[in-house]
C-alpha cells in the first residue's frame, strides 16, 4: 500500500504510508525491488542445484548480489542532472578502457575482455552496457524528437564504436546487448517505422557481409543454430542437451536437484548460460512460467516507471534500461530453447558469474534515481 486515505474534515487527502515514506526517502521503488529480489532468490535456489550443491558458488553469487544492491542503492541517490552531465565523460572513459583492453589483448594472448585491477577484474564492456544508452539519451536530450538524419548518424557512431570494440574481443553477446541498449533509446525516441524497417534490411545485408568477418567458432554457432543435428557432439551438443533437459522436465519438472541432464553434467554450462534449462528440467514448465512472470513483472514495472519520468534524458534512458533487461531474458531463453543462436548471454540475476549482476542492478539504481526525481505534479 503506497497510499492511505486520511479523512480530515470535508477533504479526503491521500498521503504516503510509513514504509512508503521510507522507501520514498531512499528513492527506492518497492515493487521493482521486490520483483528483483524474488528473481535473485529464485536464482540462488536454482543455482545451488545447478552448481552441484556448491555452497562457495552461492556465497560468491550472494556477494555479487550484495555489491550490486549497494551499487543500486547508491546510484538511486544520484541527481539525474549530475548523471546526465557526467555522461559524456563516462562514455569517453569507457571507450578508452575498451581501447586499452583491445591493445593489451593485441599484445597479450588473443581474447581479452577484462582489466585486472588486482582486487577485481573489471570488464569495460559491462560499463558500456550502461554508458551507451546514457550517451544516446544525453545526445537526444536537447534535440527535437524524432531524431533527424544527422542525429541518427551521430548516434550510430556513438553506438558502433564501443560495439565494434567489444565485438573484436570477441564477445558477440555483450556487443549485441550494448547495441540493443543504444538502439532501444533511438527507437523509444520515436524513430520512424520506415527507418526501422530499412535498418532491418541493412542489418540483413550487414549479417551477410559480417559472415566474412566471423571467427570460425562463431560461424559454427550460427550454422549449428540452424540445424543442431549437423554436429551433435560438437557445437550442436549444447543446444540438443538443453532441449532434452527442458523437454524431459515436462510440466512439473523432475524435482529440485534431481534433473539428470543437469546433475549428471550432460547439460554444459549448466550454472551459467544454460541455467534456464536447469529450471526447465527440475521445475518444469510451471517453474519457467513463474520465472517469466517475475521477469515480465519487473520489466513492466520498469517501463511504467520510465513513462512517469518527464525529461527526455530520463525517459529514454529509463526505457532503454527496462527493455534491455527484457532483451537479456529473451536472448538467453531463446538460445537455450533453440529459438536463437547460442551467443553467450547470461540469464539476468540467475546465471552464475560475471559482473553482469552488478551492471544490471546498477542500471535499476539509475532507473530509480531518474524516476524518484520527477516533479510531482498535483496532489
Amino acid at each position: 500500500m503506497m497510499y492511505e486515505e486520511v479523512i480530515s474534515g470535508s477533504r479526503t487527502r491521500r498521503t504516503l504510508t510509513g514504509a512508503a515514506r521510507v522507501l520514498f526517502a531512499l528513492k527506492i521503488d518497492g515493487p521493482l525491488v521486490i520483483g528483483l529480489a524474488l528473481i535473485a532468490a529464485y536464482g540462488l535456489i536454482v543455482l545451488y542445484s545447478a552448481s552441484g550443491q556448491s555452497m562457495p558458488t552461492i556465497y560468491r553469487t550472494g556477494a555479487r548480489l550484495a555489491i550490486g544492491t549497494v551499487a543500486m542503492l547508491l546510484l538511486a541517490q544520484i541527481n539525474p542532472n549530475f548523471l546526465r552531465r557526467s555522461t559524456p565523460w563516462l562514455y569517453a572513459a569507457g571507450c578508452l578502457l575498451l581501447l586499452v583492453v583491445a591493445a593489451i589483448g593485441h599484445i597479450g594472448m588473443g581474447a581479452q575482455r577484462w582489466l585486472d585491477l588486482k582486487i577485481f577484474r573489471f570488464q569495460p564492456s559491462e560499463l558500456m552496457k550502461l554508458a551507451v544508452p546514457m550517451m544516446c539519451a544525453w545526445y537526444l536530450h536537447e534535440r527535437p524528437l524524432p531524431p533527424s538524419w544527422p542525429s541518427l548518424a551521430a548516434l550510430a557512431g556513438i553506438i558502433l564504436l564501443p560495439v565494434g570494440l567489444t565485438a573484436v574481443q570477441p564477445d558477440l553477446g555483450t556487443a549485441a546487448l550494448i547495441a540493443a541498449g543504444g538502439a532501444l533509446v533511438i527507437i523509444l525516441a520515436g524513430l520512424r517505422l520506415r527507418v526501422i524497417a530499412g535498418t532491418l534490411v541493412l542489418g540483413a545485408v550487414g549479417a551477410w557481409a559480417g559472415w566474412g568477418f566471423m571467427h570460425d567458432y562463431q560461424r559454427k554457432r550460427v550454422l549449428t543454430f540452424l540445424d543442431p543435428q549437423t554436429d551433435p557432439l560438437g557445437a550442436g551438443y549444447h543446444i540438443i542437451q538443453s532441449q532434452i533437459a527442458i523437454g524431459s522436465g515436462g510440466v512439473f519438472g523432475k524435482g529440485w536437484m534431481n534433473g539428470s541432464q543437469a546433475q549428471l553434467e550432460f547439460l554444459p554450462e549448466r550454472s551459467t548460460d544454460f541455467i534456464f534449462a536447469v529450471i526447465g528440467e527440475e521445475f518444469g514448465l510451471l517453474g519457467l512460467l513463474v520465472l517469466l512472470l517475475l521477469y515480465v513483472f519487473v520489466v513492466s514495472r520498469a517501463i511504467f516507471l520510465a513513462t512517469q519520468t518527464q525529461e527526455t534524458f530520463a525517459r529514454l534512458l529509463a526505457g532503454s534500461i527496462a527493455l534491455t533487461f527484457f532483451v537479456y531474458v529473451f536472448i538467453n531463453a531463446g538460445m537455450v530453447t533453440g529459438l536463437l543462436p547460442v551467443v553467450g548471454v547470461p540469464l539476468p540475476l540467475v546465471s552464475y558469474g560475471g559482473s553482469s549482476v552488478v551492471t544490471l542492478l546498477a542500471g535499476f539504481g539509475i532507473l530509480m534515481a531518474l524516476y524518484s526525481r520527477r516533479k510531482l505534479i498535483g496532489s
Partner: protein
Amino acid sequence: MPAVRIKDHWREQRMFDQRALVTAVLMALATVGLIVRLYSLQVSNHDKYAELSQGNRVRNEPIPAARGLIVDRHGEVIAGNQPAYQLELVPEEVADVPRTLASLVEIGLIRAEDVDDIERTIESSRRFDSVPIRLRMSDEDVARFAVRRFEFPGLDIKTRQTRFYPNGGLAVHALGYVGAISEQDLKHIDRATYAGTSLIGKLGVESAYEHELHGNNGFREVLVNAQGRSVERQGAFVPDLRVKPPNPGDDLVLAIDLKIQRVAEAALAGHRGAVVALNPNNGDILALVSLPGFDPTLFGRGITAHEYGALQGDIDKPLLNRALRGTYPPGSTIKPAMALAGLTYHLVDPQAHKLCAGSFHLPGSSHMFREYHNEKHGYVDLDDAIARSCDVYFYGLADTLGIDRIATFLAPFGFGRLTGIDISGERTGLLPSREWKARTFTKPGEQVWFPGETVNFGIGQGYLNVTPLQLAHYAGIIAMRGKVWKPRLVAAYRDSQGKLHEVAPQQDNEVAGVSAEDWARVVHGMVGVTQHGTAAAIGAHAPYTFAGKTGTAQVFTVAQNERYNASAINERLRDHSWFIAFAPADEPRIAIAVLQENGGAGASAAAPIARKVLDAYLLDDDGKVKPPP
C-alpha cells in the same frame, strides 16, 4: 521539414508513451512465443525428450547368464563353468602404462610379445573402464601378483566365469568347445542378447545347442554421467534403477556314456581314427571318438596364434573330426548290404556255393580283381562269403546286381547323405551312381560307368566313401533289421527351473522291402564273422553273441602285377582298418563302427577296439552280460 525544430515536450511524452506501449506489446508477443516454444518442448514433445534424457543417464550393464552345463547320460559333468582369475587394469589409475606393463613382463605375468596388443586395447578403452590384460591366471600367478600388489596401483585381479572341461580333450569332437565371439559369429547372433557374453559355442554340441546353453543375459541399469562414468547419485537423489536377473542356459544331458567314451578313447589311443557307438533302438550316441583330439580349454581361455598354428599344422590333424568329417572307402563292411541287395532282388541263392580261386575276371576282360592277400576260399555260400569276407563272391554278386540296383538299394542305409545327427559339420560321403558319374566328370570318356567299377563296389572300394558315423548308423540299421533312428548326442535337457525335458528320438524312413528271412541270413553271416570268420579271434569267448564285419580300405592302389606288402610301404599309405558290429545279435543294444587309419586289416586293428567297447557297455564288473534295461 521546418528549418528549426523546437522540442515539444508534451508531444514527445505522448510519443514515448506510445512507443512504450508498442514495445510492451512486442514484449508480450515475444513472451508468448517463448511460452509456445516451452509448451512444444515440455508438453508436446515431452515423451521424446524424456526418453532421450533417460537414454543419456542410464546405461544397461549386462549380467551374463551362466552357460548351461553339459553332462553325460549318468550326470557326470563334461563341460562346466569355473571362475577364472584375470588381471585387469584401469587406465586412468595407472600413471605410466608402458612402464607398468614392462614390470608385469619382468615378473612373468604377461608375455613380452603381447605388450603391443595390450597397449592397443588400453588405448581404445575408456579411461575409467577396467581392461582385462591377462586371462586365466593360475593360482600361482595370482599369488605372485598378490605379494607385489602395492607396486601396481590401478591393477586388480577379478574373477569371471569361463568354460571348464574337467576331462580335458575327452569327447572333444562331440562336445566342441567355446571360444571368443568372432566377426563371423556376430553375423548370426542377436548382438543385444550377447551383450556381456564373451564366449560362444564353436563346434559340436557347444555350437549346435548354443541357443539352449546360452540362456538369457540380464541387465542392471547403471546411472552414468556425461563422461560415461557410473555414478551413485543424481544430484541429491539416488534414483530407482531396474535390474533384470539373467536366466541361465539349459543343462544338456548327452546320450554319451563317459565310461564307454573313455574305454573307446583308451582303446584307440596312440592311433588316428574314430569310434562311433550308438544305441540302435533310439539313435543315442554312446561314444563318439575321433583321435587325435585336443584340449577344448585352449580356446576358451584364448588360444594363441602359436598354439593354433601347431594344431593346424599337425600332420595327424587333431582338429579334424574324423567321426563326422573323415570319409573313407568302407571296404568289406559294405558286404552285408550287398548280400541284402542280392537277396532282396532274388539275384543270389544263399545256399549256392561259388568257387573262389583268388581272383575274378569280367567276361572278355583280362583285368584281374584280386582277393585280399590272394587268399583262395574255395567253394563258399553267402553265409561263408560274409563270414570269411570273400571278395570274389562279392565281385560276382556286384556284377550281377549292376550299379543301378546297388545305388538304389544302398541309399536308405544312409550312404551319400547326412545321417541327421544333431550337431553340424557332418559330411555326406559319396554313394556313386551312373547319374552321379555323368554329372561329375567332364570328359565324355569318364562320364560312363564302367562294369569294373561295379565289381570294385562289391567290396566297398572305388568311389564309395563313408564316414565312421555313417558306418555306425548302417550297423545300427542292420541291427534293427531296417529300422532307422537318427543319431543324436543330446538326449534331454534341464531348464533353468530344474525341470528335465526328454528329447524324443527321431525315426527316419526305414529300409523297406527286405524280408525278415533275408535280414536273419545276413545277420547270421555277420555273427559268423565273430565266431569262425575273419574276426573269430576277437569274438572268441564273448559272453554274448555279436554280429560284426571287418573291412579294409585301400589307401594305396596296388598295381596289377604287384603284391601289397604292408611292411614295405610307408605307414601312412597302409590300408585303413574298419570294423562294424552290433550286440547282442538278437536283441541289439549297441552298434559300433571303428576306424583305425592305416591300421591294416580290419580284423587285427579295429576289431579288438570294438570288442573292448562292446564289453564295457554290455558286461558288468564280473564280466557277466547286464540284463537289458
